[in-house]
Amino acid sequence: MKGKWLAALCTLPFLVFFFAFQIAPLLWITFNSLNSSQGWGLDNFREILGSPFYRQAIRFSLEISLWSSVLGLVIAVISSYSLHKVDSTLRGFVTAFTNMTSNFAGVPLAFAFIILLGFNGCLTLLLKQAGLIQDFNLYSKSGLILIYTYFQIPLGVLLLYPAFGALREEWRESAALLGANAWHYWRYIGLPILTPALLGTFIILLANALGAYATVYALTTGNFNVVPVRIAALVSGDIFLDPNMASALAMLLVALMALITVIHQWLLRRSYHVQR
């Protein structure tokens, strides 16, 4: 019995650190999101939802996250499937490279995109000369969707690639023998099997984009209005500090992620694969 108590004592350092750097900040923002200059209550949240500025930040955050997740997922699905179909040398090389580029995000990525697609970026100039585009603004919503999609692709491939391993070649052959064409195969066999993996990956991409701060901050020096930029500006900006309001916005972001996770669980329960 004494050994057990001694053992429990050994977990104490971990618990202290985990509490200090993960739980305590979360508790702080939970309490202080309810605290404002008018006293305790929901005033902060009321102000956020009533302000066109914050509503715009939420809308931009959602739009950029949704579009980049959808685009990233589609590209990841197409590439993961093809990765399974090519010879192992090429597959090994490209998966290893994808692995490495998953670390290419944030400030370095923003700088690379400025070189490539900024106002004088080489790709912008090339496409302009070819007459394919009139103008491209990397620092706009569509530019941000593009750069977010870029960092979603490696993550999507890493998460989805193993899932395609579950699709057995015999199933496709059996389906073909029974008279199914490619569309039937994907509609009734391929997609239902992949659904949980697709949903799970989509959720992770969405959460990844919603919380992303470094890329958009480095690209626009904090001038583009999305929720993470607003939160950071409220605690470390140089004009107007309001940690309580920042807490409320942060809670909103966390609530949004929790909501997405709940929807994910609900969809997962309805999906064919899990019901069996």
Binding site: F21, P25, S82, T101, N103, A112, G211, A218
Partner: protein, 260 residues
């Protein structure tokens, strides 16, 4: 070659090209003497790299990043190992609870955590803001899910109870058995997790910028502060950073391959 095969090869090469493009552009830019308003640069040079690696501020920032990342990883090893030994040996049921808890660093973005951290540690008994200590603590939480999963998977593959019993029979104390019997068996899995965690901790910007900023400048904060300088110089910086990450991920991958 059939049409389908050709299509799949094409898709995979296209993926590779898309992912390569920003990196390749940065690489060429870092080697260019001048490159503005034209599609290709006018000449090639290594002078930006020479300038970068002779900049004391860069070397200091690089050193700061190393200190913080290595410190955080050492802390993570110590904390996670002691926790996991105890869980695996005495309280196996707690593993389920921990699997939920370690999702928190994923679910709560750094920008959210930093709001609370900034208020809690700005003053008072623990004035950590602006010091490397706060980054070591925060980076521990970022690395935690990876370290925990890697070590836990390795521990489950071992027959922990038999190993410990055998060591006890031979007269070793529990602590000694854990240190010289179990730990060496975990080495490889631990190394892979360490190298992978290191490569993404080097890229961390949010905590470093909001909580510490210029007071203990890390590589990413230095990179950001150079945004108004020469684009060639920052490109050389991006490529140098990426080469370090490349090397570290490569080591992790080859270790991983040896293991299988």
């Amino acid at each position: 070659m059939s049409n389908a095969k050709l299509y799949h090869r094409l898709v995979v090469w296209l993926l590779f090209l898309i992912l390569l493009l920003p990196l390749a552009a940065t690489l060429v830019y870092s080697l260019a003497t001048q490159w503005s308003a034209t599609i290709l640069p006018s000449g090639l040079t290594l002078k930006w790299y020479v300038a970068l690696w002779n900049d004391p501020r860069f070397l200091v920032a690089f050193g700061h990043s190393l200190v913080v990342c290595v410190g955080a990883l050492l802390l993570a090893i110590f904390l996670v190992l002691s926790l996991l030994f105890v869980i695996a040996y005495h309280f196996p049921k707690l593993d389920a609870v921990m699997n939920v808890l370690i999702l928190l660093p994923f679910a709560v973005p750094p920008v959210v955590s930093s709001v609370g951290l900034l208020q809690l540690y700005a003053s008072g008994p623990l004035p950590l803001i602006g010091t490397p200590w706060i980054l070591i603590g925060c980076y521990f939480t970022i690395a935690l899910p990876f370290m925990y999963r890697a070590i836990s998977n390795n521990l489950q593959a071992l027959n922990l109870r038999d190993l410990m019993d055998a060591a006890h029979l031979l007269g070793a104390s529990t602590f000694r058995a854990a240190l010289i019997v179990v730990l060496p068996n975990l080495r490889k899995g631990l190394m892979v997790a360490l190298f992978l965690s290191f490569s993404f901790l080097m890229g961390e910007f949010v905590f470093a910028n909001i909580l510490v900023g210029g007071r203990y400048e890390t590589l990413q904060v230095y990179l950001y502060s150079m945004r108004n300088g020469s684009g060639h110089f920052t490109s050389a910086l991006v490529i140098s950073y990426f080469l370090v990450v490349l090397l570290v991920t490569w080591v992790a991958n080859s270790l991983n391959r040896d293991k299988q």
